[in-house]
Amino acid sequence: MRSLNLLALGLLFVALCIGNLMITADRSLIPRSLDAAVLHTEIKREKHPGLDDVHFIKLSDGQTLHVDKTLAEQLEVGMRIRKVAWQRELIAGEGKILLEYSKDFSGMLWAMPLCILVAFAAIIWPILWQFLSKETLQ
């Protein structure tokens, strides 16, 4: 039962880490394929105004997307945006915007694998502890 529980918790932990990476990557628009006009842009304030503001863009295809601040600042209402999934070039109106992953995603890219490593250590804690302390639990 203990092994099954720890396996399930470990898998759940990894899934949540992947979720963090996917969401932060998605806010850069890099993974998405787009062909629509920007109908509306909106900034909603969070707990720390100016730091964790949420930037939304509403598109003509009905989607409302939460995007990174640096990207939102370059988009204007009425602008047609087009791109192919996983390409970093966003055609915006007459010009082009080079998309970049946010600081959040870059941080997550390092933090999540290390967190998984710590979770793995927590899973094998009795073995790890006995190995490091040279003492047995029994």
Partner: protein, 168 residues
């Protein structure tokens, strides 16, 4: 020996993850805050539950409750994030981080429960009374209660620091 094992188990994994969050995502202390608050709240609830189960029949079934309890804590996080803590939107990253804390807390709790239910196989093969729970002795039960109380205090500290990091 048991003292050192549990002390390292209760302190090291959560603080290591906090350190990783601060090192790589230090520009967003609220991420660390959500993680630590999720850890603390889950740890408090689990330790309270284990404390209440001490000496009761349900104690030997604690391993069966680990996953449902974890999912319940994650659900609690979804409810609070989409109601009282919903400001601009339901933030998926906040939800993932607080859930990471909840899952890590339950990993630690699982190791703690395994130690509590340190079973002895009956020497008599005809004895069908099942495994003897370590906490069935009065001194072991008292010792387990002490660890549960320590866990609750630790959870309150983590939750408090998490709250400060998330909102300050």
């Amino acid at each position: 020996m048991r003292e050192r094992y549990l002390t390292t188990l209760f302190w090291i994994p959560p603080l290591l993850v906090l350190g990783i969050f601060e090192l790589f995502l230090g520009h967003r202390h609220d991420y660390s805050g959500h993680y630590l608050a999720g850890y603390g709240a889950t740890f408090i609830a689990a330790m309270l539950g284990i404390r209440m189960a001490q000496g009761k029949m349900v104690e030997r079934h604690l391993p069966l409750l680990i996953i449902p309890f974890c999912l319940l804590c994650i659900l609690g996080g979804i409810i609070t994030e989409s109601t009282i803590f919903r400001l601009a939107k339901f933030d998926e990253v906040d939800f993932f981080n607080q859930s990471l804390g909840a899952v890590l807390a339950m990993m630690v709790v699982q190791q703690f429960v395994s130690l509590l239910l340190d079973v002895e196989t009956p020497t008599n093969p005809h004895d069908i009374s099942g495994p003897i729970i370590a906490s069935s002795t009065a001194s072991a039960s008292k010792e387990n209660m002490r660890w549960c109380d320590g866990g609750i205090i630790l959870g309150v500290i983590y939750l408090g620091i998490g709250g400060v990091l998330a909102f300050a």
